[in-house]
Structures are given as structure tokens and as C-alpha cells.
Amino acid sequence: MNAIETHDLCKSFHGIYAVENLNLTVPEGAIYGFIGENGSGKSTTEKLICGLLVPTHGKIKLYGKPYRNPAERAQIGTLIEDPACFPGSTVYQNMMMQALNLDVKDPEDEIARVLDLVQMTEHADKKFGKCSLGMKQRIGIAQALLGHPKLLVLDEPINGLDTEGCRIVRETLQYINREEGVTILITSHILDELSKIATHYGIIKEGRLIQQIRAEQMSERCRDHILVRTANDMKAFGFLRRQFETETSESGIKVYGEPDSMKISAMLMEEQIPVVQLETKRIGLEEYYIGIMEEARSA
């Protein structure tokens, strides 16, 4: 079953579409990284899913049911933009208000549990407005975790976090996904962090979903390789493919499985094939994403 499905989802503001014909599928149990440029429609999509914006057209389903079904909505934890807390109230009071919203049994114990998960227990009596940006983000995540939700919708949750804060959030999300099977829809511009936890990715551009891909598929496409250009690429390709896994592309010959570029250079020189360019390419999520965006621009 899919945790989230959208069907031709559209949202326009004053005639301009922020989200257009979006068909998003988030499998149950996934950590779905939703990535795109600023203003591409990521936050708008999340707000639509959470019922904070009214769709112009289209449908949203949560676990196969209409998204306005109260039973399903009660199981969503959200952090959309800034944490939803009153600055003049303490961290504990803000957490208690959300616990009351959720009708949580033993709210004091539940608040203690989630604050401990994000390592914010010692700040419970601090006024929320006096907390730093990073602390506020962790409190927002703790609030989203109240009541053991089965779906988390997080918009830029690691914004403003230092390295330690990122680690805490990453480990918390991985823990609840692994141990409790929580599905997570997460947007972030920090692709390096996202690549450490996401199992699926959706790439959005100008309100349209241009690709949905599993992390394993992306890994296949993002393999490290050595890019070779020679004076005689045809001869070089014929020679190299007998030794290594290779692939031709517009930018040159891609050689997989051999980390030592000097070895490849020496081999080609022995065959009297002059090397014009030799470069080690390390492809991560960021490079893959930029490549997809460039393809979309030129399409």
C-alpha cells in the first residue's frame, strides 16, 4: 500500500500554478526525499497533503483513503516551515498543547520520550522564543513525533542545525523508520544529509514531478567512474571494454570498477592511444540532481 498518492494534483495562486498535475507516490515505510529548486512546489505539495491548502484540482489519498479522513489524519506528524509553537510558552507547554490535540494517553511520559529522542529534555522549561534556531527545529521534530504517528511530513527539518543536530535528527528518523515503520516524506536542500537516509526520491521542477526513483536505482545511475577522452575514442573504447565495464557518452568514455586513473592512462599509452582527458567522477545525489535539472532545462 502507498502511504501517499496524489492524482493530477494542482494548486494555483492567482492563476499561476505552483503545483501542476502532480502524481506523487510515497510507498508505505519509505523515507521519501522530495527535492527541487526554491519555488519548485515542494512546500506547497506538503501543505496540500497536510490539508493546509485547498487543492485547485486533483486528489490526495492517504493509505488508500481520501486525505480528509479524520482517522488517517490523526496519524500524521508534521513540521511545515517553522515549528508551530507559541514563543511565549515554554517548550513543555507547547508540547503539552500538541499532546492534548492528539489526545495522547500519559502525555507527560510521551513528551519526555520525544524530547529525549531529540535530546532536548534539559530545555523543557525554556521559553520557546528564547531557543536557538537549531533547538526550535529539534523541538518541532519532537512535536511531530508525539503520539507515534505512522506518517511524518517534514519540510526542511534540518535547516539551521549544526553537524551534531543533523546527526541526532538523522538517527532519530532512521530509528523510527526502522523500529516503528514510520513513513517519512522529507524535503531538504542539504542533499548530502538526505542521501544518507532516503530510500526513494522525487524530483520536482516548476510544479511538475520530473522523476520518481528508488535509492537503489539512483545508486546504479550514480556510480563513480573515470571519464576518459582520447585522440581515438573508438579504438580506446574497443580496448577498454575488454578489460573493464565501460559506457560511451557525449562527454567521453566512462570506465567503471577501476579506481586508479593512472593505471588506465598507462594502459592506453601502451596501446599508443594518446589520452586527452582523464578525470575521476564521483557522483552523489547532488551531481545526479544537477544532471536531471540540466536535462529538464534543455528538454
Binding site: 497536510c50 479524520p70 489524519r73 508551530a84 509553537c85 507559541f86 492534548l100 490535540n101 489526545d103
Partner: protein
Amino acid sequence: MNALLRRDIYRLFRTPLLYLFMLCAAVIPGSMSVMTGFEPGYDAWGQVSGLFSAGIFAIAGVFLAFFIGNDYKSGAVKNIFSLFPKKRGYAAAKLITGAVAGIMILLGYVLGAEVFGVFTGADFTSGLFDMLCAVVAKAGMMFLFSGIYVCVAALFRNKVWFSVFGILAVTMLFIPALLITLGTPLIMAGLSIAAGVIGLFVFPGIAALIMKRLDALA
């Protein structure tokens, strides 16, 4: 709605603004008497039906404007409307909480009037029963007006000062209805309670219709 109401009541009693407004209401009878030239014959219990007591509704309305507006400004509505897609429950909880706040402000006013009366040796000419009926009547009216105020605040959402001016304008329109006379106490109390009950059922639906048409995040 129960969960939302519990949350709002929890928040209400931890909102310093409520106690500030109660204090403001408490000093109104005495300060108005002083400003208008304190004369013998100040009826401490009669203050409940006086013109200045109508101002309690305006004070309660302003409080509600801030109470609801801060839900939007702080982003708390994101958590609420994610969980509760039907806005009627939110509106009903706010109506009840607003009425409770209004009643507390009213009690602050009454207490202030009586304390001022005791300290200045004023008269307590109106009957205690009449006074209590007037308090009950005003409390019933609080539910009706809280419903109207919730609709106004739902329209303006995080634009708190627009809500404040809208609420004050509405209150001005209804001032005659707020002057509960002490002449027919039981009838007035009964009618006011009936009006409050009607408001409790009607206005959450109206406020929900307003909120349904507007995105939660302005």
C-alpha cells in the same frame, strides 16, 4: 472537538493576557466612577447592568482576536488543521474558550465593582438576586457574542488588528442588546442563556464555512 477544547483551556489559563484583561475589567467600574465625578448613590451591584459593563464584551472580543490570531501567527493552526480537517470543531472550541474567557473577565469586572464599593462605602441598593441574574444573563450572552467574534477572527486569521477593529465594530452595533437591565432579571437571564445556546450551535458552522474557503496559511 474535545481534544481541541482541552488544548484551548490549557492554553487559556496559561495566557498572561487573560489576567491582564481581567485586571483591566476590574478597574473599570471604579475608574469610570472617579472619572465621571464620584457621586453618592454609586450602586456597587448595579454596575453589572451599567453602560460600562457592555465594554466587557469588547474586552473579551479583543482577547479572542489575539487568542485566535496568535494561533495563526505562531503557526499552531498547522498542527491543528493537519489533524482536524473539519474546521467546525476548531470554531466550536474557540467559541467556548472565548466565552469562558469573557466570563472570567466579567467576573473580574464584578469583583472590581464590589471591591470598589466596599472600600468607598458605596450603596448596594440593587438586590443580590437581580445582580446574579444579570451576571448569568451576560454570561449567556458571552456565548452568543463569542460565536460572532470567532467568525470575525476566522475571516482575518493572522491579521490580528483587523480582527480587533472588526470585533469592536460588531460590538458597537450590538450595544443596546448588551445593556442587561435589572428590571426583569429571570426573563433576561433565560433569554440570554437561550441566545447563547443558539450561538453555540450556529456560529461554529458559519466560522467553519469561512475557514473552509480560505487557506489555513495566509
